[in-house]
Structures are given as C-alpha cells and as structure tokens.
C-alpha cells in the first residue's frame, strides 16, 4: 500500500451515493479492507438498505412485511447516514457531492451506486391514475399489496420481463385473475430469448394467467374518481381491470450527474474493469468509482463489451471490487471478472442463469426436458458457450459457470446426466436489440466509454 493510500485509509472520507445493496456491501467491504476513515452513505429513500427481491414475491403475497426486508448489517460499520436526501450533483474539481437539501459533502473518494428506477408508463396522465403502479421500492410494494388485497376484478401486468412475471405469479398465488401483455412473442424474451421464453409462456398459462403476446397496451382509462378501470390493446380489445402494473424495465439514475463531466448517461455510468469511472473524454478518474445496476463496465469474458448488469449478485461483487480498488494502489487493484448470475422464482419454478444469454445466437437443451420443465439450456455464440439457464436444476449451474469462464466449445462435446436423446441446436430468438424491451437485466451498452448522448432509432415496424 502506498503512503498516500495509507493516509487515505486512516483519515480519508468516502461518500457512497446510493444506500441499497451495492452501497451497503461497499461500506462493509471498505471496513473489512482496513478503511478507518469517515464513511457517509447517501440514500434517496428514507429507509435503511433493504433487499428488493422479496418485494415482488413474499411481500406482495403478504408472507412478509415490507419493513422486514432491511438487510443485515455488520457491527461496527460506523457510518454516517443521509437517508431521504437524494444527491443532485457532483463537482469533480471541488470533490463535493451536493444533496437535495443543500448540504454539500466533501469527499476524498466517492462511490456512485444510485441504481435504477422503474420505467414509468409513457402517458403521464394515465400513469397518475389510482391503481396504475410500477414496482421498484418498498413504497411501491405497499401500494400494490394494498390494491391486491382489495380484491380487484382483474390485474393487468404490462410487460412480461422477470419483474412482471413474478408479479403475475404472486397474483395467481393470491387467486386473482391476471392478464399479462407482452410486446415480444413470449415472456422473458429479452432476457432468455424466444425459444426458452416459450417454456415460460406455457408455465404462465398452466397457472391460469391470461397471457397475450405480440400485443401492446395503447391506453389506460380511468373512472370519474380517477381510478384505472379499462385498458385498450392495439389488437382492438378492451380489458376491464382494477389494477395496472407497469413492468417495462428500468431506467438508470444518472440525471444527477448530468453536469458532472463524467461519462454518465441513459445507458449508465461508464467505468473501467476496476470500477473507476471515466470522465466525458474517456479519461479514467482516480477517485470516482461506480458499482451496481448503474455501472456499465467492459467485461473481459465477453469481448470487453460494456455491460450493465441489473443483478443482485452483481451489486455485491462489483461493490466489493470497487471497495478493494478504493483502498489499494494500482499494483494491487482487482478487475471485475464475475460471471453474471441471477435467479427468478415464478409459478413454482426456480429459474437461474449464468453468463450473458442475450449474447447467445443459438440455444441447446443439454440436460432434462423443457416439457417438465426441468432442464439446463446452454447458449452459444460463434462456437463458444456464453450462458447457461436452468429451470429447477440450479445444482448444475456451477459446472456451467466453469464452462463459460473457460469459453468452452458450443455445442458442448461432453455427455451429461439426463441428456436428451436428441440434442438439437435451436435459434435463441432474441428480439431485435433495436426494439426497446421490457428489460433483459443484462444490457449490452456497446464499446465506447465516452458515449454520453445516444439516440434510440425508431423501431422498425415496431410499436410502443
């Protein structure tokens, strides 16, 4: 450790902007790494860091209380908290973070972990109707839980990504009639591709979901009291509903960095493989770090393409790398090499993934059967294995993580337990990346670290 880093570790001030999973884990990792200086966590919500995955599952069904999702914390964190006060600006030259209440926090090093928020319904008047809800935080969950407890005639879930599918699953668990609309040909198409998405579609229908793919909701209509009652679809049908859950993916919380001079924009905050943030000229900064959903960084395992990973494990592992690199000199820095992994529980099935399925062009079921559905599917790109997805076969995933790390040949050459009789290579059927999707959770954000402005090309024959 250089003397400069020694002094920083003893007396420095770290500000962590974002008091969620990544922010908390970074704070813990800084202390574990010997940082004894001042530590401040800034959060826009008034709550201590809490865990989000239970919100769309146990909390919605009433199995767990919203406030019970507070994350365990190590003792001796010795942090100062600024909760309920969002950061509104970062001054690179003066090394200060500006908060919404006017306070300015000077820092020696800062971690940007401001995450994402739910993409709102595009029509603001319709979005303001009672019963139109997006789900991201604790307060959203309380609103949705209360709407569901009121016994709606029908719940509409707009968008069949993971969040939308889990909400639909929770609704069916409560015995509520649910319609799910999805613009793509299947649920989970952006995350897993249409071929595996077909299995998810069958699951939804078996659980009594009225699933409608290839359609879009064109408008939501309220009653005189301003509560949503009807949804109009682009195939001409009208649905009678009492709740509309908008599950159209996430937007990155980077607006507060607009004038900071950092390489931050709608795709996220660009950083190097060691979590150090690029400025707007593509020059790496020394004292600004990023981690979690908001960060996009070049991944050595996937051609150094910049990826933004909206995963629980990414928040933890990237926060640990950022914290390590904050307190260590350049010869001891660590790259972020974590193979992306995530899970989703829906309709009684555990879906797990490793690697980057949207990079896959082809898919093959190597163990089990999609009919049950209990299987392992591998995704391949140009002859190498880039991802694995399991349905109720989580125990095998570690083996395939190893295959992905080694860039193993695709299709695989080895034999497997419970190998299907014919191992047919299928097209993965990911939607055109030019079309905005419901949120694949791994967003391929290109190769340029400096790209701040970007234009979404009009969808080819697409619709909202």
């Amino acid at each position: 450790m250089s003397p400069a880093n020694g002094a920083f570790s003893a007396n420095g001030h770290v500000v962590i902007v974002g008091a969620s999973l990544a922010g908390l884990r970074a704070a813990e990792a800084l202390r574990e790494g010997g940082f004894r200086g001042r530590l401040t966590l800034v959060g826009d919500e008034p709550y201590e860091p809490y865990d989000r995955p239970p919100l769309s599952k146990q909390v919605l069904t009433g199995r767990a209380a919203p406030e019970s999702t507070a994350l365990p914390q190590v003792s001796g964190l010795d942090a100062e908290w600024r909760l309920g006060t969002p950061a509104v600006g970062l001054d690179l030259a003066a090394k200060r973070v500006r908060l919404a209440d006017g306070e300015e926090l000077g820092f020696d090093r800062v971690l940007i972990a401001t995450g994402t928020r739910a993409r709102p319904w595009p029509n603001p008047e319709e979005a303001a109707l009672d019963g139109v809800i997006t789900l991201r935080g604790r307060d959203d969950t309380v609103r949705l839980r209360d709407e569901l407890a009121a016994g709606p005639r029908r719940v509409l879930v707009i968008g069949a990504g993971f969040t939308g599918s889990e909400i639909a699953s929770a609704c069916r668990g409560l015995g509520l009639p649910v319609t799910v609309t999805e613009r793509a040909a299947t649920p989970l198409a952006g995350a897993l591709g249409g071929t595996i998405g077909t299995v998810a579609a069958r699951l939804q229908r078996e659980y009594g979901v009225d699933l409608r793919c290839g359609v879009s909701v064109t408008s939501l209509e309220g009653d005189d009291a301003g509560h949503v009652r009807r949804a109009h679809l682009d195939d001409g049908t009208t649905l009678e509903i009492d709740v509309a859950v908008v599950a159209l993916g996430a937007q990155r919380n980077t607006e507060w960095l607009r004038d900071s001079g950092l390489g931050a924009g709608p795709r996220g905050v660009a950083c190097d493989a060691g979590c150090r943030v690029f400025d707007m000229y593509g020059i790496v900064t020394d004292d600004i770090f990023a981690a979690g959903d908001v960060a996009r960084s070049p991944h050595p395992l996937f051609g150094f393409e910049f990826l933004a990973l909206e995963h629980w494990s990414n928040a933890i592992e990237q926060a640990e790398v950022a914290a390590h690199n904050m307190v260590h000199g350049e010869s001891e820095r660590r790259p972020y090499l974590h193979v992306p992994t995530f899970w989703s529980f829906q309709f009684g099935v555990s879906i797990k993934s490793a690697g980057v399925p949207p990079l896959g062009e082809q898919v093959i079921i190597v163990q089990g059967s999609a009919d049950e559905p209990r299987f392992v599917a591998l995704y391949g790109r140009r002859g190498r294995t880039v991802a694995a997805v399991t349905f109720d076969q989580g125990k095998w995933l570690e083996f395939y993580v190893n295959q992905i790390e080694r860039a193993a040949p695709f299709p695989p050459q080895y034999r497997n337990v419970a190998q299907p009789e014919s191992r047919q290579v299928l097209q993965a059927e990911f939607p055109d990346p030019a079309l905005p999707t419901e949120g694949p959770m791994i967003v391929r954000t290109g190769h340029s670290p400096t790209e701040r402005a970007w234009t979404l090309m009009p969808a080819r024959g697409g619709r909202r």
Binding site: D51, P53, P54, K57, Q58, R63, A64, A65, E67, S68, T69, A70, L71, P72, Q73, V74, S75, G76, L77, D78, W312, S313, T341, F342, W343, F345, Q346, G348, V349, S350, K352, R374, D392, G394, K395
Partner: protein
C-alpha cells in the same frame, strides 16, 4: 425485536434443510424456489441459527437482534 435474514439465492440449491429446521421461516415453492421471512420474530432465533448452520451451501446470513452496532 426482530432478526434480519438474507439468503443468497444464487447459492441456494433448494436442499431444504432450512425448511425442516425452521419451518415457520423458510418454505419451498415447488422443487427449488425458496421463499423466506426476512424479518422473523425473536422466538425463531434458535431454529434460524440452526438452519443457517445446517445449510449445505452456507447461503443464509443472519443478524441477531441487537447485534448491529
């Protein structure tokens, strides 16, 4: 006073030891999907600590009541 629990569900493989040891806190939906109460009452402390210790993949993290500084 409640405790706080978080399970690393990437690591969890649905062995179900926790479901046997602390049935009021952990439950399986289907074969492998683990649902749990992240903030159970203090009377669940001993079952939960046993469940965390017995987890074959050590995926359960528990903060006991009053443990946090």
């Amino acid at each position: 006073m409640t405790m706080r629990i978080v399970v690393d569900l990437n690591r969890c493989q649905g062995y179900g030891q926790c479901v046997f040891l602390a049935p009021g806190v952990f439950e399986l939906h289907g074969e492998e999907a683990l649902m749990y109460d992240p903030g159970p009452d203090e009377e669940q402390l001993i079952p939960v600590v046993r469940a965390a210790a017995a987890c074959p993949v050590q995926a359960i993290r528990v903060e006991r009541p009053g443990e946090q500084a």
